[in-house]
């Protein structure tokens, strides 16, 4: 007899069940139940934000090179479990070729963003030639805790494509997975849990956006929110509630299959530019000779 997998949540590096005890049934096209998914509550979200906040200092403080190594490790583990993801995608209604393509792209995306970890700073930072005797430079820094309401139409690719540019730059995140295609999200969490990614850097919830989006947008300890769906009412509500703490709010309603939707500008959406000034002593400069 086949052992069925229990899909739980991923919070602070652990796999708890929803504290609410609520579930929703995931059915395939034939209306057969394929899994019981956690219907995350506001409190699960709150716990996830606490875990994400706790992880910011450690993750953002890591060497950029080290973050790159970890992201590459994610690609490696993902590659090793390719078959499992393909199987889950098939279970959720994908064709074989589209399932294989989606997994392939997800792996490639990990490799792609892994490489950005120690490069985007050089591209988007600057040394600014101010007119006074000061050394002045600007560097990108992580915004902090970022919430994501991930793509509804893909199970793996949209999730991965949103998470990666966020964590490349040292942010941590809380992600609500696709409600109708949630299986890969929790399996991806298992990948993350075995990839040297510190606990709390990525937290994954399953459940209902209608129920959770206002809590995502109004949480005062969340620095940014990214919405990857097309519900205009939710977009508006999120943007409105974001104003409570001047949350950075973005809509990434993108076709993640397209190559153009992997780019460093997504990394920069959740980066802050910090500018530092320091005086330059110029004693003796008049004597400099070339």
């Amino acid at each position: 007899m086949e052992i069925l997998k229990t899909y739980k949540l991923f919070i602070g590096g652990a796999f708890p069940r929803t504290e609410s005890g609520r579930y929703y049934k995931l059915e395939n096209k034939q209306k057969q139940v394929i899994a019981n998914m956690c219907l995350s509550s506001r409190k699960d979200f709150r716990n996830a934000v606490v875990a994400a906040r706790k992880a910011v200092e450690g993750w953002s403080g890591r060497a950029a090179f080290n973050r790159g190594q970890i992201l590459y490790r994610i690609a490696e583990i993902l590659e090793g479990r390719k078959a499992q993801f393909v199987a889950e995608l098939l279970l959720q209604g994908s064709t074989k070729s589209s399932a294989e393509k989606e997994v392939r792209l997800a792996i490639d995306r990990c490799v792609y963003y892994s490489g950005w970890c120690d490069k985007y700073q050089q591209l988007f930072g600057s040394v600014n030639p101010v007119a006074t005797s000061h050394f002045n430079f600007s560097v990108p820094e992580p915004t902090g805790v970022v919430c994501v309401i991930a793509d509804e139409n893909t199970s793996l690719l949209g999730l991965v494509s949103a998470i990666l540019p966020i964590i490349v730059g040292g942010n941590t995140c809380v992600v609500l997975a696709s409600e109708s295609k949630p299986l890969c999200s929790i399996t991806f969490a298992e990948v993350l849990a075995t990839s040297d990614l510190a606990a709390g850097v990525v937290n994954i919830l399953t459940g209902n956006s209608k129920e959770l989006h206002t809590h995502f947008a109004s949480h005062m300890d969340v620095n940014a929110i990214i919405y990857c769906r097309e519900n205009a009412a939710e977009i508006k509500a999120i943007a409105e509630l974001s104003s409570m703490n001047v949350k950075r709010s973005f809509v990434w309603n993108k076709d993640w299959l397209k190559a153009e939707n992997e780019n460093p500008y997504l990394i920069m959406d959740v980066q802050e530019i910090k500018t530092t000034w320091h005086p330059i002593e110029n004693i003796g400069v008049s004597g400099a000779k070339y």
Partner: protein, 297 residues
């Protein structure tokens, strides 16, 4: 040897910004006139040349007492400053004038000689009638890190001065950094200097506003800690009324009114007096004045 005086660090750019801001002070009308007269009264009229002669020193001493007789109410300068061998001449020329005689000593301007010679020279200056001695510190020793040597030398010269006031020339143009200027100031102050002075006038740059500000702040810190006043003398390169007023503004805003007298502040300068007279002449005659009307001694 370890330096036990803890001098604060100095940020050069910050000092220059403060100076730039002080220089935007606009001194007009009565304040300007009084300021110029005060500056005149703070001058150490100086001749320190290899070609100094009895005649030259006498002429300068006469000038010191008669800056511009056609302008009423002018003060005299504070002092004349000469080499040791001209102290007697100056003493005779300035008798009953109230103008002090300052003598450079201690192997001025390089300071490269033995302690014994320096002490003897100091004693000779005082014996010949100098009211004030302008010594130079041993910059070589300072830059080698022999701070106690520098300290001890200043203390020894102070002792040799007896009743004469000691001005300690740091020769800031050779100290390279403002951190060093501050450190040398602290050493001189603690070793007994009555005045600290920027320069010999023989090295460029001589007195500058930033250097003077750092020295004034050292004086202030010492005063705040001990209640003891030390004087300040920027010397060399201050030749215009405008810049003299800038220095006075800086003095006023750093050390306050107590220092606004020639007892505690001096300008070491040779051509500043005439520029001030040029400005005062303009006030008197209501038109821009000319150097042709001012004696060049």
């Amino acid at each position: 040897m370890v330096l036990l005086i803890q001098s604060p660090t100095i940020d050069q750019v910050g000092v220059e910004e403060r100076v730039a801001r002080l220089m935007t002070r606009s001194i007009k009308k009565e304040s300007e006139l009084e300021g110029l007269k005060l500056a005149l009264n703070m001058i150490d009229l100086t001749t320190l040349e290899g070609k100094d002669t009895v005649g030259k020193v006498k002429q300068m001493c006469y000038k010191a007492q008669h800056l511009a007789d056609d302008i009423a109410g002018l003060p005299t300068v504070a002092a004349v400053c000469v080499y040791v061998n001209h102290v007697k001449t100056a003493k005779r020329a300035l008798v009953n004038s109230g103008i002090k005689i300052a003598s450079v000593a201690t192997a001025f301007p390089s300071g490269n000689s033995s302690r014994k010679v320096k002490i003897e020279e100091t004693k000779m200056a005082v014996a010949n009638g100098a009211d004030e001695v302008d010594m130079v510190i041993s910059r070589g020793e300072f830059l080698q890190g022999n701070y106690n040597f520098v300290f001890d030398e200043i203390a020894a010269i102070k002792e040799a001065c007896g009743p004469a006031r000691l001005k300690v020339i740091l020769e800031t143009g050779e100290l390279s950094t403002l951190d060093n200027v501050r450190k040398a100031s602290d050493i001189a102050i603690h070793a007994g200097a009555d005045f600290i002075k920027t320069s010999t006038g023989k090295i460029q740059p001589a007195a500058t506003m930033p250097v003077t500000l750092v020295m004034l702040q050292a004086i202030k810190d010492h005063y705040d800690a001990t209640g003891i006043m030390v004087g300040m003398k920027p010397a060399g390169g201050i030749s215009t009324s405008k810049s003299a007023l800038n220095y006075l503004v800086m003095l006023y805003e750093t050390l306050g009114e107590k220092w606004m007298t020639n007892e505690w502040f001096r300008f070491g300068a040779s051509s500043l007096a005439n520029d001030i007279i040029l400005q005062l002449g303009k006030e008197k005659y209501g038109a821009y004045y000319s150097n042709n009307y001012i004696s060049k001694d």
